[in-house]
Symmetry: D2
Subunit: 421 residues, 4 copies
Amino acid sequence: MATAANSVAHPTLIQVDPFVPAREQKGLHNRWHPDIPAVATVKPGEVFNIECVDWTGAQIGNNDFSDDIKDVDLTCVHNLSGPIAVEGAEPGDCLVVDILDVKPFDKMPWGYTGIFELENGGGLFAREFQSRAAKAIWDFEGIYATSRHIPGVRFAGVSHPGLIGTAPSPELLATWNKREGALIEAHADSVPPVAYGPLVKGAYVGQEIPDAVREKIYREGARTIPGREHGGNCDIKNLSKGSRCYFPVFVKGANLSVGDLHFSQGDGELSFCGAIEMAGTIKFKTSIIKGGVEKFALKQPLFLPSPIDPLYSAKLIFEGISVDYHGDGKQYNMDATVAYKQAALNAIAYLQKIGYTREQAYLLLSAAPVESHVGAIVDSPNACVTLALPLGIFEHDILPKEEGLKKLNFGQCAIRSDGLL
Amino acid sequence: MATAANSVAHPTLIQVDPFVPAREQKGLHNRWHPDIPAVATVKPGEVFNIECVDWTGAQIGNNDFSDDIKDVDLTCVHNLSGPIAVEGAEPGDCLVVDILDVKPFDKMPWGYTGIFELENGGGLFAREFQSRAAKAIWDFEGIYATSRHIPGVRFAGVSHPGLIGTAPSPELLATWNKREGALIEAHADSVPPVAYGPLVKGAYVGQEIPDAVREKIYREGARTIPGREHGGNCDIKNLSKGSRCYFPVFVKGANLSVGDLHFSQGDGELSFCGAIEMAGTIKFKTSIIKGGVEKFALKQPLFLPSPIDPLYSAKLIFEGISVDYHGDGKQYNMDATVAYKQAALNAIAYLQKIGYTREQAYLLLSAAPVESHVGAIVDSPNACVTLALPLGIFEHDILPKEEGLKKLNFGQCAIRSDGLL
Amino acid sequence: MATAANSVAHPTLIQVDPFVPAREQKGLHNRWHPDIPAVATVKPGEVFNIECVDWTGAQIGNNDFSDDIKDVDLTCVHNLSGPIAVEGAEPGDCLVVDILDVKPFDKMPWGYTGIFELENGGGLFAREFQSRAAKAIWDFEGIYATSRHIPGVRFAGVSHPGLIGTAPSPELLATWNKREGALIEAHADSVPPVAYGPLVKGAYVGQEIPDAVREKIYREGARTIPGREHGGNCDIKNLSKGSRCYFPVFVKGANLSVGDLHFSQGDGELSFCGAIEMAGTIKFKTSIIKGGVEKFALKQPLFLPSPIDPLYSAKLIFEGISVDYHGDGKQYNMDATVAYKQAALNAIAYLQKIGYTREQAYLLLSAAPVESHVGAIVDSPNACVTLALPLGIFEHDILPKEEGLKKLNFGQCAIRSDGLL
Amino acid sequence: MATAANSVAHPTLIQVDPFVPAREQKGLHNRWHPDIPAVATVKPGEVFNIECVDWTGAQIGNNDFSDDIKDVDLTCVHNLSGPIAVEGAEPGDCLVVDILDVKPFDKMPWGYTGIFELENGGGLFAREFQSRAAKAIWDFEGIYATSRHIPGVRFAGVSHPGLIGTAPSPELLATWNKREGALIEAHADSVPPVAYGPLVKGAYVGQEIPDAVREKIYREGARTIPGREHGGNCDIKNLSKGSRCYFPVFVKGANLSVGDLHFSQGDGELSFCGAIEMAGTIKFKTSIIKGGVEKFALKQPLFLPSPIDPLYSAKLIFEGISVDYHGDGKQYNMDATVAYKQAALNAIAYLQKIGYTREQAYLLLSAAPVESHVGAIVDSPNACVTLALPLGIFEHDILPKEEGLKKLNFGQCAIRSDGLL
């Protein structure tokens, strides 16, 4: 018969408390550096769990104001769980990671999507909208998310780690800091900044290490905001539960870290804190392919997507081209970023016609399973990017109609307690 | 019983010969201008066919050298069929276009994908690869395409018009010419050019019009290369047969033109002449929504995709970030175009590992139903773009394996008769 | 350049006129028999077209009465095109058939779905409904079908041959006639009949053959109604354009015949003439696997479905179990046929709630891309079968609502000119 | 900030221990009867969890012999959790149930699929195969299942409750017992039995109730094996997490019960204990539509499937017709059950060609996300049913090849300790 003895749960190698500030917890770190020692070591083939705090480390609450978003401390994000060393991994190998499951804690069945202040975090339209803090709290009801701050929608999550990667070698780290440093220097006054250099303030490694090592890590460690050659904060929604990922290995043991779990996200994650951010558990299995970097020409991770993905076949698709039609009319030169922005602005304008506020629309496009394709990237001078809104997530029919669109009242998302927008 | 009398075929409003140079045929034009008169007028609700030459107007042949690509005359592309006026359409309306079918001529069951010379057309990697002309001829076998120049693959086409749009108003045309002119001026020496201004040489309107009007059109008419607010050469693969498109109307009658039919295309169409270019027939039905531009905040076309799309669920996905890792290591600033390029380069490197030449890989990614998603576009400084290669199009298993990838010999695509590559 | 010389159309091996009675045309036959000689021979790897009349051979017209359905002569159906011999095929081999395309004639852009009279053809509910002739004419608009007789729906077709198979050997033919003869004998008085034995009346082979052979074929030839081990009238909607089918070979040359083209069909084809029946062209490519019957344990055809299939992800699903709840309450013993019927009756009842007549609902479920799954077939005594109605084919929202279903007036399908229903 | 105070877990209304025999636990019952009192009452809109033991109540162990299957006590299955009453529900209403999640216990990450003995449980091929007990243990690795007893496959689960339904009214219960009793009587000697009548032995209701009520329930209560008008053991794999189900209500409070959770199942569940049986938790939300039975013509449940379903687009499809070709050659009369069996036998024969034993193949088809469609059910005398095997679940390429199929050695599933097969 079924017994506890013949039923062995998968071990949880890192445990966290999602209600305690990250810097008070073990097994977490928030910079990339080769000297951060592994928290645990696994053998290839083992199935194991890793618990993660939300990316801010409990800074954001389940309430109806966005003051916590306004005041968020970004020097101490993202809080990553790890590193986990894999026996036998060496530089030049390929670390195969099966992302077997990603789920929120039962005790914390909610997450959030935020619009950050122009001066504290930004986002794709931070300057266009002169963004003030806003947010939506999402309730998790099994596979679905709904929000009291964005009524009228419900969708299945494509849950994934926003951030996952192997540790950089000293050389790779130096390359990052050098090239990003040059960019920062070239745009010194940009608001929001164009990139984030190493910063001792806020740096954290939750392990026992000699002071000198700690100091070195804090001083040199790469920030976690961008994705890089090792993976990192790629925010690819389809790197979801069920996917198999192939990472290049840069240090002995590979030293895999993970965090920034997302219940759901749209392609682009446009509001920056645009996914449905959550705390929870991720389940892994790993293996190693010796010499995989050379075998697969692995300059950045490859992956096989999951057979499980929310399927909403009916879509309304918005087009965008690389001309700043909404503003000064400037013509850009084959710029897919501008084209993406145009497509998103067109979608926001449409959502406003059916009754959502600009902020709700911005949050919704960030969080829902929206798909953005690069249409064409060679038709000089205009790149064309599309953004597809799944119709099945809306409780109402939002299709274009002869008689126009019906405008409903969906209220407003959570804004600052001082009412500024 | 079934009789010819009770079986009425849909009328074909424009007929062309795919084997005759475009400028010898009626019903074609190759510039955008409000003064190009409609070739035919339809009532809303009518189903009708339009025949189209291939975008070069028969310049490319079904043979095994790329000399015709090398020497292609780009001043006279794209050859569009139309315009078709729709009764009752007025500026500010929305023209609803059902793309009911898109198919090659039975008498011409083949198409082509080309890599253009750096100095004559370019392409996404024209400079990186110092491109010389190359091409692949694709044979159409019903829903599938195969190529003697890229053995080992077969895929179903997502057939669509690369180029479809309504006529611009004089004001919109002036806006285009002004903004693109400024860009051209700012990059006067660029090879390939960053954009293409009006050009009398090669201009063509195949209708009887007064000389003064013709001259005006040739002098002012916008070139057809980029997509713009009216649609145009958006090269969106999912604007395929079965889709419903909502265009803004800028002139009385809407004046819809179409051309550049594609049997298939990957997201991005990276080699520029990257789709499987074909001649054939497109079937339409239209309707008008009065005041639709305002009703739907219609700054660029919207569309509903087709319920029919090649479904290859298993994919190998490549990531790209906006850092020029392959070359000078430069850090770009949230540049989705660079990120797309990296993802594509990673895919090309992988395809070379399994035996395709760089040119074959470049052509294949352009032509096959490859999907490219914008992963994230807010993680400063790196945009992340993915490119998904459908596994089901390959005759062989191309998945990463413990033992590495098996390299086969697929020969080479069609190259120049002088052997230059 | 593109020329007629370098553009070779695929040959059409059998040409028919869809407006001429089948028995006046060459290349058609309507019985299965090993002695029917091949009309043409192909080499493995050739791409070729076969034209087909509709299954009745032009008996049904594009009009608004069902009298032609009432009086249809079923002794002379199905009219098949072929046989086509494949060089090198021998008994025991596997004939691989790529169904590359299936499309209606441009000159006949319509098809029909019929409910047959109880006494002339029947159908799944012939007895329950005491069926009188009814029909719907469907207009083909590219990939879509719509009907003036069933307003409010539009769907993409999954076009396929209802009937395709290799010729039986004399032994296999004898087996069929024996086992079906026994069933007929056991249900001699059934209306409609349980099976159809060989019948000289209506038999037809449109080729020059000696009288004695013709007489033998007419006397022994198996009727075309059911699917059998060689394929035949399986009416599998997913044996559609793009699929690859593996047939057992029973005679030298394999002798492939095809007909009964369907623009669309729902799983089950419940009204018997339930697909959208059409005339048109099918495109094939074949190959042979020697000894394939043994290699693949091939007792009936296998197939790989097409990557192209209408995708309507949102569905309303009806359940059915094997108890005759609607009638006498009888309990059946694990009978999936009864379970299917219950699911279909539940769907018809629902469609009547939204305004369709019983006949319209019956026709719609037969013709639209409805999916029917065998849920469970082991839970004694009730099999459970589901029937899924794609929501995207309806112009209106048909989902269950708090306030109930909105009943619209969709008129009625085509019925008999004497008004009997 | 995130706190325990602002993070409220969904309540678990029924808690069970999967390692304790069901009859020693509260909140469980194993017969259908209107007099079984509700365990808990919920308000419409509440989200809540229900824990379930596996259907046998811990009789089957995670080991490598099938003796527990051989000796399973079927008088005491299925062990259902509930009933749950919903405030306001009355007969004639429609109970809307959102199945929000279905997952195994973390402490029991495994399940099983069994072939039952001919004399104790049976299965679709119990007589054909003269079945002896066999089983496969499946390990759950996040969204995937793998088995040491069926190597070479891995697939994502479409997790669902095999059994879910509302309580019957006294009248409905009487109808069931009457009609099934008649069937049993007509097949008194059948092995396995054609149906299961009320049976005091093994009956269980884990609540405090007066003895007389208990005795009545045990004497009259309907067995749980088949699906019926209230839902019940329908074993529909797509009634999975994310689906919304509409049940008819027969008693005040609706009294919903659930159990027999499946990690995965193929259409048909052919080996009877054919799903991957598991213990775990199901998450629900309910609402009531007054008078829904009449509003929606609700004779059996309706449902909307989940947007999340394992997507394996490439498939190998087997056909089956209603003739007993494998055995005595008998012709059946439009029997979809026989057609399903043929399709399944064809698939088993194919799987044996690639190296699986008959028992492994039988278990695999039962447990994997196999799809079975009713092709046609009107082509007298042969129903045609298809069975589609997803190719993506196999580690090896199993497609038909020119050179035949490669036969590997996959060992054998768990069999009886006495070695009998």
